[in-house]
Point group: D2
Chain length 379, copies 4
Amino acid sequence: MIGGGGNAMIGPIHLRAALMDNDIELVCGCFSRNYQTSLSTGEAWHVAPERIYRDYREMMEREAALPLGERMDFVAIVTPNRVHYEQAAMALDMGFDVVLDKPMTFSLDEALRLEEKVRQTGRTLALTHTYSAYPAIKEMKSRIAEGQLGRLRLVYVEYTQGWLSERIELLGGNNAGWRTDPSQAGKGGCVGDIGTHAWHLAEYVTGLEVEELCAELSTVVEGRSNDDNIAALLHFTGGVHGVLHATQVAAGEENRIVLRVYGERGGIEWAQQEPNTLIVRWADRPAEIVRTGNGYMSPLAKWNTRTPGGHPEGYIEAFANIYRNFVHTLRAKAAGETPRPEYLDFPTARDGVRGLQFIETMVASGYADEPKWVKWRTR
Amino acid sequence: MIGGGGNAMIGPIHLRAALMDNDIELVCGCFSRNYQTSLSTGEAWHVAPERIYRDYREMMEREAALPLGERMDFVAIVTPNRVHYEQAAMALDMGFDVVLDKPMTFSLDEALRLEEKVRQTGRTLALTHTYSAYPAIKEMKSRIAEGQLGRLRLVYVEYTQGWLSERIELLGGNNAGWRTDPSQAGKGGCVGDIGTHAWHLAEYVTGLEVEELCAELSTVVEGRSNDDNIAALLHFTGGVHGVLHATQVAAGEENRIVLRVYGERGGIEWAQQEPNTLIVRWADRPAEIVRTGNGYMSPLAKWNTRTPGGHPEGYIEAFANIYRNFVHTLRAKAAGETPRPEYLDFPTARDGVRGLQFIETMVASGYADEPKWVKWRTR
Amino acid sequence: MIGGGGNAMIGPIHLRAALMDNDIELVCGCFSRNYQTSLSTGEAWHVAPERIYRDYREMMEREAALPLGERMDFVAIVTPNRVHYEQAAMALDMGFDVVLDKPMTFSLDEALRLEEKVRQTGRTLALTHTYSAYPAIKEMKSRIAEGQLGRLRLVYVEYTQGWLSERIELLGGNNAGWRTDPSQAGKGGCVGDIGTHAWHLAEYVTGLEVEELCAELSTVVEGRSNDDNIAALLHFTGGVHGVLHATQVAAGEENRIVLRVYGERGGIEWAQQEPNTLIVRWADRPAEIVRTGNGYMSPLAKWNTRTPGGHPEGYIEAFANIYRNFVHTLRAKAAGETPRPEYLDFPTARDGVRGLQFIETMVASGYADEPKWVKWRTR
Amino acid sequence: MIGGGGNAMIGPIHLRAALMDNDIELVCGCFSRNYQTSLSTGEAWHVAPERIYRDYREMMEREAALPLGERMDFVAIVTPNRVHYEQAAMALDMGFDVVLDKPMTFSLDEALRLEEKVRQTGRTLALTHTYSAYPAIKEMKSRIAEGQLGRLRLVYVEYTQGWLSERIELLGGNNAGWRTDPSQAGKGGCVGDIGTHAWHLAEYVTGLEVEELCAELSTVVEGRSNDDNIAALLHFTGGVHGVLHATQVAAGEENRIVLRVYGERGGIEWAQQEPNTLIVRWADRPAEIVRTGNGYMSPLAKWNTRTPGGHPEGYIEAFANIYRNFVHTLRAKAAGETPRPEYLDFPTARDGVRGLQFIETMVASGYADEPKWVKWRTR
């Protein structure tokens, strides 16, 4: 693992998600740019001291020099996105598969190069758009793909947080610092950090792509230098309309992600904070409460479920689904087999490229002097 | 009452709301353009046959000829908005106060003329933006006015219905016909029918006004000739941003109105389908469930509440609040007194004018070849 | 109307419920034992001063002396239950139909005599077990009667309030006084005031009768002289088991009534504080959210509904359903017709007798030195 | 690990919970009485073939013979409770600490002997009353212990399932078989399987003990030979009253556990199926929505939380809390330190003994010819 040390929030989540299914062991890492932090983190996580490295280059070189079976099989990169490209590219070049936090890179250009690198090396890259890995989201996707809603009409997606309601980035010692610094986070603040999650869910669940959008990016909290609040009207393929909004300054909200998709026969709603439930509404009969862990769920949802109905799963299990599918894919490839479709159901470099395109398109639309509809910039 | 006969949905609601507090009696009416329908409706509602009239002109003339105390005191107009202006203007001219369904008129021009007529005659006009009359909405308004949320930041409002998911206007015999016919409903379909409710709630609760907006009006169901789906980014006075969306084609939804307002200290959420509850979220402590009928409610909410906590009120009681405040205002004016502020807390011609401005601004923005930000057209 | 004056809670509710459908007019009353209170209440309610009476006997005598068509048609009795019998019996004897608050009388003996009086006079008596008149409860009853749940198994019903958490009866000026005084409320405190509602809902919805029970009645708040907290295990006809609990000392609760019935194929749940929704769970498929006002509802639910889906109804509308069905029944009888079954669907003297039997059986079981199973005392 | 192989539900849950925090490795096991099943399970879980044993005796003996540091540190026993005593007792005797599924043993006698064995050996035993390990339950316990509710009054707890609505035990191949067989599950069916969870939650959260109860145990599904449905009135220490009901035949319910505790100042409610939320009601102000992961939570809740607010945790994390606290306790003891109180906060043999006492008391009350109040049998 690269990163995740000290008081990082997402490192321990990655670790727990990776370990949960007993298919992955943490064998080495450089957990912080500060070697002492790295050492103490590694020790707490039972990593052999000689495999706690001073920097990621050293780690990759020394691990690559170990015999197969002993050296690390893949690397999880949980650093700020400014350094994703160089770390991921090096890993791929040296023969390691990669799990990478989103947004995939700092710029669209890097994203395209990384996608190309994955193609060239034939390695596997998973991007942790975690929310798309909840079993209820899999169910939503399956039902829509099956046509249960008929022709799609509308997509509403929101991601509402309040943790940046004040300038806590000035306090230091938290995860707000780099996220609110354009030199580290890239062109987008809120749009990159959480807007991408909202956008990804919408595309993943519907199987549609955004074709053009009309956005506004704004900075609500005075003194902040990138956006902390966004809203956009969306046009998807197939004439489907959508509305997306995301904010990190809605004081009092925790991590409210709500996704709704309507078609001509009904609609499906999911809310991340109670993630095991879908509300499926029908034009002509009572709405249904579809719950994970039940026998009536789709195969894709069941494959991504670990507990029977009524025994709630959460965020760590969603994360673990990405790791599990990634590992099953690696194993199949190692065995010379074609991975089964449900194994391949995790976000890849393609999602990463589209994520950076989303940020760029939002910025192009939302920061124009006169906000306007902007076609999705595909390259 | 003018209109409301036959299978109209809103007529009986008006009647129940008006009667509930024992301050109003139904004494006369012309309930339909079809006299037989009018007669049978009036008979069912215990109106003396001689006071069931053939048309509204006859009604006003003959009622005006009755002695004071015997003749009707005010008229409730529950017809399609195309005929609102002429009916309301005549009533005002003949000395009757008016309760009027929204949108107030067919065009902004008529709205301005009607507002002027109210001013000239000194009569009272109440517009039934019913949703703003729920006690929980009064509480939300009171708390925001008091500054509990600090400086406001964000307003999200949606109005989501599914009843026009198919072209039921082709079937006849329902309320969809005139609403989907631009020659009867005016420039806006969905934007006028329900978009105005969403917009009104946002302005009423925050005390802010929309200054400019960027909208899209669309027609989702093929063959329909006005909009059935809208979305807009909003800029309110004071730099507050908002998102509004409304649709009548979200198959499976009943009458979902959700309003959320966030300020620097917290946010408040209200959902019309469970109308007696507010969720008040705080940046620094647990969210609260504020419920109507409790001792801790604001005076304005209490004044608009009829039952103790836990005895739910609904849509008809909200409607009744408008009638009650209207009647209390009439009485005070009749007694030569200044009506108390809580009596005057009902939508007036001003709200009607702004509602037509909202429709016009939305149309100007949302139907442009290139959707764009449009300043609110105030006149 | 007898009672309801001053600061009584339930009087104005009765009035609004009665008036709402424009079938009932308030023509006379004695609203309080205090004549001044009665006068001011009557005046506020637009009753002609000469028909505001000093006591109920005077009212009945003088009204009976008026010509038919002019005199009152029926009387609503909303006094403490200690005086119900004499007032209702006199009304029936003098040819007036009666709407009566529950519990029907002070003692079971009075209840049996009142039932007999109804039979002898051929008049109509409605008992306001209001909660059984919600449209969603009608739906629940219809579905169970239709066999949708298969053979019934379990009934859970609770009625949880907190308003008697402290001895507010000592403060005076509220509705707690007579309710907590055994000499006025009868043998049961909580068991009579709200326990009867819970029991009635269970029997009404299932169509079953309690055959025996094992209860505990307790007094939680020190110094109070009757029960404020009850719980019971129930055996219904057909081998169905149940649990009932009710309390008025659950600090923080408003008026939480929850009813759940399970059969071999599924279960239905209703919660009074969000009364327009049923959750219908199925053994083999997703749960459904059944909502009032929709086309798929049963005829009985539709008959008791006033608004389309998504326009919430509440407590006053439930109350109004009892009045409406009562009035339709009176009219049919006056016309010499057999009232239609949906008109007759309101609680009668039979429900009143069983309610008193419920109280007596609970007391017999719950106050025994050694609590025990007690057979329902039918007479 | 002993047990957990094949299609067992709880084995993989134990494993995931144990592994999640990277403090525990699965090193050996006998996962089934069927050696082939055991081998295939162990292989799937990456256990070295030579440490997959034919029976638990062999496992303990051969592991005990390994050098310290190499041999297993503790054993998780996830077999039917009929064999718990002999397996746990042997483990303790041979110097292994134990994690044990509930109910702790087959009989109260065994439970008492096992408790004595724990005392004699000085080893550590954790009982997986998982539901008491949710962070929101920790919060509820902390707030009650702090006196936030004032003097306690009422406890309502229910555990409602539907999975035994039909006699699926006749189909084989599932977890219903031994649970519905008195010779394997002991005196209680539902009362032991889930009733004990409900009882444990009530005592754990309040810090009170049940002193006497009046119960009914019944068999709803014909042909079944032990109870599948229970209900009881409870008397706790301090004069607190309670109601407990549990069933496995409420068709359509998944795993509904709801716990409510009321005191003189308010009440707290928790529902397992949305486990990250408490509703805290107050007599004199709005109810609060208390959510895990927030800064305002108690230290005990925070210690048992892995994710920030709005990132839901679930059943596996609750399970993992027991494993983590157990491991921290082992480490402290190994280091000669006194474990910190939050480490010791997991169910022990004492809870196991009281659990068996609960079953015996329920059986003594609920199966008597004439159900009656029975004093808790403490030994």
